[in-house]
């Protein structure tokens, strides 16, 4: 097992390198970060040249990538534009944990920007994922145990519809109903945007209240998708011989369900969660945008539209690493859930 993990991690290195090169190339040609640096005024050509030189944007792409990856403190760069390299570089490079400085939020490192937003995203996503799992498992198992009853029919159709819904529609519709119209009708209503009411402050109650609608919107789609998998897997497991054996030796339904069926029925859920967690780290771009949640998703889209390569690269690499790690964890959990799976 240990050797398997090491081999998988070694295999991931070239993969991550290739991903970083591809994304870096795409981002380099995707826009001009200098265009918006002068605020409302257009940037003068001589300022532009100076900025590009100081930020290293005048270098060819492959050099910029090497500086991003390995830093430039091992060579001298031309800082004042006289053609003679004289200043030692300051960047350490990603390999040594330096993701560079944001081009938009001047003076802040990409890592500190991400560090500010990541907790906000986690505050939203961890409860969301837990709620989704609880609902998906209970709905899926319940309807599988009552296959072809009207409850099952309603659940199957409902989950099909929910799973076809684009998240922005659910988000906008729930916001319209529970926030706008509830207020109009004089009912207790939910807040729509942000993490807390500035008048009240960032208290626990406020944050929870502001989490209700985003979590609801995300859950509708994910619970529908998850519960469909749980239901079909549960139906398959229930037809297996070992379940019949368990019943035959006199276990109660509950014991069979919890002790025997559930573990095998959980395998597709582990896959789904393993795929989803990395993307949760990246934040739900659409959900966070609609509900004004100051998380990673909005950081990503705000800095992408302003061509802030270091921050965008930082977020994407974080997600990519998370994907690799989560896939590995998923595989390990498989082996634990199903002893027939062995890795060598």
């Amino acid at each position: 097992m240990g050797r398997y993990i090491i081999r998988r991690l070694l295999q991931a290195i070239p993969l991550l390198l290739i991903i970083s090169i591809v994304i870096f190339l795409l981002l380099q040609s995707s826009g001009d970060p200098l265009a918006t640096m002068g605020g409302r005024r257009t940037v003068r050509p001589e300022d532009r040249a100076r900025l590009a030189r100081q930020l290293g944007l005048d270098k060819p792409v492959y050099k910029q990538y090497i500086y991003w990856l390995a830093g430039n403190d091992w060579l001298k760069i031309d800082f004042d534009g006289d053609g003679i390299p004289e200043t030692t570089g300051t960047r350490k490079g990603v390999l040594r944990g330096d993701f560079g400085t944001s081009l938009v939020s001047r003076g802040k490192s990409a890592l500190s920007l991400i560090g500010e937003r990541l907790p906000n995203t986690l505050i939203l996503m961890i409860p969301a994922e837990i709620i989704m799992l609880i609902f998906a498992l209970s709905i899926g198992i319940y309807s599988a145990l009552r296959q072809y009853t009207w409850v099952d029919q309603v659940v199957t159709t409902g989950s099909f519809i929910g799973y076809s819904m684009p998240i922005f529609f659910i988000a906008l519709a729930s916001m319209y109903l529970f926030a706008v119209n509830f207020r109009k009708w004089g009912l207790p209503y939910l807040p729509t945007v942000g993490m807390f009411d500035p008048k009240v402050g960032k208290t626990f109650g406020q944050v929870v209240l502001h989490m209700v609608l985003p979590i609801f919107s995300m859950s509708v789609v994910s619970v529908s998708a998850y519960s469909r998998y749980v239901r079909s897997q549960m139906l398959e497991v229930n037809n297996q011989d070992y379940i019949r054996t368990a019943h035959a030796k006199g276990l109660t339904d509950r014991q069979v369900l919890i002790g025997h069926a559930l573990k095998n029925a959980a395998i597709p859920i582990v896959t789904l969660v393993g795929i989803e967690i990395p993307f949760l780290l990246g934040g739900a771009v659409v959900t966070e945008t609609i509900f004004g949640w100051p998380g990673m998703g909005r950081l990503f889209i705000d800095h992408l539209t302003r061509s802030d390569t270091p921050v965008v690269m930082g977020i994407l690499m974080l997600i990519s690493v998370a994907v690799v790690v989560c896939q590995l964890i998923t595989d390990i959990v498989y082996a634990w859930l199903d002893p027939r799976i062995r890795y060598s």
Binding site: L15, G31, F160, F169, V286, I301, L304, T305
Partner: protein, 317 residues
């Protein structure tokens, strides 16, 4: 027989074989039983008619007229769906936007199918080093999150392609970019399915027979093996249309997809959340149209999955 009813499956099959149904008829027979899928087809036809026949009542130029003196007007007799933030008529924009959204769905699906089938077929048929290289590549594509990648590519390319004229209409170049980009970021699942099918089919006798009579690799791949793996491809392609429409909506919703003035259902929603309280018609109409389209297509895909499954039996009349 002791049990006259229900009829046992072999008898049902025998009866179908007797009546000499073609494959298409057989599929249709199975498909018809799926009520939601039939409802999906009907509602999809209505949606397509809305986008096509609507053009008889309004022109694209009209859908792009901006008049800020009538901005954010609620639905009225003159503007049945209201007007948007710069005073454009939302009804005519949903008609022309619908054409673009549906077209994006179809063409992105075509790109997805071509790339997915080619990569899957080549990897599965040739195996060995080609297979492992292509599958590593597929895996790498899977590892890049799709929505962020779409956003990066949309931002990168959408402004670079000049507007183009097609069928006498002016399209924003970003339409083409978005179609291709969505197609190029969504083929991985299909490639894996096709590869898996090729791996098992290439060992079958009919393929060996084709090799023996000297058939070349190309005709074997496309003429012999591919037709046997059409069912999952058709189902993936159907669902691919719905996914492409949703992906376009996500990207355009965030403002890096199809650029105005060309309307799509997705970019009509861009910024609409800021008017959730004052102008709900901004998002209700395009939003409902997207939901209806995606739902219909998904129901059709679900019905096709059952209908094309060779193991599913049919109770014919």
């Amino acid at each position: 027989m002791a049990i006259p009813n229900p009829e046992n499956p072999p008898a049902a099959i025998a009866r179908i074989e007797k009546t000499q149904l073609t494959f298409i008829q057989l599929v249709w027979l199975r498909f018809k039983r799926h009520k939601m899928a039939v409802a999906g087809i009907i509602s999809l036809i209505l949606l397509v008619l809305f986008a096509i026949l609507g053009t008889a009542f309004t022109t694209e130029a009209y859908s792009n007229i901006t008049d800020t003196s009538i901005r954010l007007m609620p639905p009225s007799h003159e503007h049945p769906f209201g007007t948007d933030t710069v005073g454009r008529d939302i009804l005519s924009r949903t008609i022309y936007g619908g054409q673009i959204s549906l077209m994006i769905g179809l063409i992105a699906m075509a790109v997805e199918v071509v790339v997915g089938v080619l990569i899957g077929a080549i990897a599965g048929y040739y195996g060995g080093i080609i297979d492992s290289l292509l599958m590593r590549f597929t895996e790498a594509m899977f590892n890049i999150p799709q929505i962020p990648l779409l956003l990066v590519l949309g931002k990168l390319l959408a402004d670079k392609v000049p507007p183009l004229n097609l069928f006498g209409r002016e399209f924003s170049g970003s339409v083409i970019v978005i179609m291709v980009v969505i197609g190029l970021t969504s083929w991985m699942g299909l490639a894996r399915i096709v590869r898996a099918n090729f791996l098992s089919l290439k060992e079958r006798e009919f393929v060996t027979a084709a090799h023996c009579i000297g058939t070349r690799n190309g005709p074997i791949i496309f003429g012999h093996i591919l037709p046997n793996t059409m069912a999952p491809i058709i189902v993936s392609a159907t669902l691919g249309v719905a996914n492409a429409i949703i992906s376009e909506a996500y990207v355009s919703f965030l403002g890096v997809g199809v650029r105005p003035p060309t309307a799509t259902w997705g970019n009509m929603l861009n910024g609409a959340y800021q008017y959730i309280e004052s102008a709900p018609w901004l998002w209700i109409f395009p939003g409902i149209l997207i939901v209806l389209t995606v739902l219909s297509i998904n129901f059709i895909g679900d019905g096709l999955r059952d209908a094309l499954d060779p193991h599913s039996l049919v109770e014919s009349k």
